[in-house]
């Protein structure tokens, strides 16, 4: 499991695990749902269609195995798409501990980006809520800026309650800095 892979330090506590807002997954799964109900929609259209538009020379019974094969194939593809979306949603997360932040971007299967930075390196944490739905449902983009060379900015969109997340990270950073300051004073 992931926590063993991350190798949490001794006494390191996980403060919060954050995934994208439920609205994001619902929006993405809606496409798969539409795909799933398409055969039913076509069937409904055929039943309400005037009889003169339906070719009478085609015996549905003859083609029933083909129709069942095609519908089963369609459902399988829709379900696989749905599970792929769910997997990407669930494995994409922020893990906030009392020492660091681990940002995991599950972009696609075999395209995964894991970034970890220590709270004492955090320079700035910003959030933005953009749009009507995002404002009502309280989700937005969180950006974390760290000191140092290389990639020093982390951004994730669609995170729930970004204000609370910012507050948790800020408090954890303050506590960490205080701990390091006390530890340094004791050792001098």
């Amino acid at each position: 499991m992931l926590y063993e892979k991350i190798h949490l330090e001794t006494d390191e506590k996980v403060l919060k695990v954050v995934r994208k807002h439920w609205f994001i997954i619902v929006t993405e799964l809606f496409g798969a749902f539409l795909m799933l109900i398409t055969p039913f929609l076509i069937l409904s259209l055929l039943t309400i269609m005037p009889p003169e538009f339906i070719p009478t020379h085609i015996h549905v019974e003859t083609y029933m195995p083909f129709i069942i094969f095609a519908v089963a194939f369609w459902f399988l593809m829709a379900l696989m798409t749905g599970f792929m979306i769910w997997t990407h949603y669930y494995l994409d997360l922020w893990v906030i501990t009392d020492r660091r932040i681990i940002v995991i971007d599950q972009i696609a299967f075999f395209n995964r980006k894991v970034s970890s930075f220590r709270l004492e390196r955090l320079q700035d944490i910003k959030y933005s809520i953009d749009g009507l739905i995002a404002t009502f449902l309280k989700f937005g983009t969180v950006r974390a800026q760290t000191a140092g060379m290389g990639e020093n900015s982390f951004k994730t969109t669609g995170l729930p309650d970004p204000q609370e997340l910012q507050s948790i990270i800020q408090q954890a950073t303050d506590a960490r800095l205080q701990y390091l300051k006390n530890h340094h004073n004791h050792s001098v």
Partner: protein, 71 residues
């Protein structure tokens, strides 16, 4: 040797399509299983997701297989 499309039996096409779908399904399932076992943080969610996935998809593959036998 040229392939005569006009006389190519429909049963063979459906059978080939089924083999292709079955291969894709096994490959996708293996990838999905690997990702959940390797990267998930909650074993209960992993178990529920994989159970639901196999319960909902295996019957569809079986139905497709039965239809291939009927056609």
């Amino acid at each position: 040797m040229d392939l005569d499309i006009q006389n190519f039996p429909l049963h063979n096409i459906i059978t080939l399509a089924f083999y292709a779908v079955a291969f894709l399904y096994v490959l996708f399932s293996a990838i999905l299983y690997y990702h959940w076992n390797e990267y998930s943080v909650e074993p209960t969610v992993t178990k529920t997701t994989l159970t639901f996935y196999f319960i909902s998809t295996i019957p569809l593959v079986v139905i497709m297989g039965i239809m291939v036998l009927i056609i």
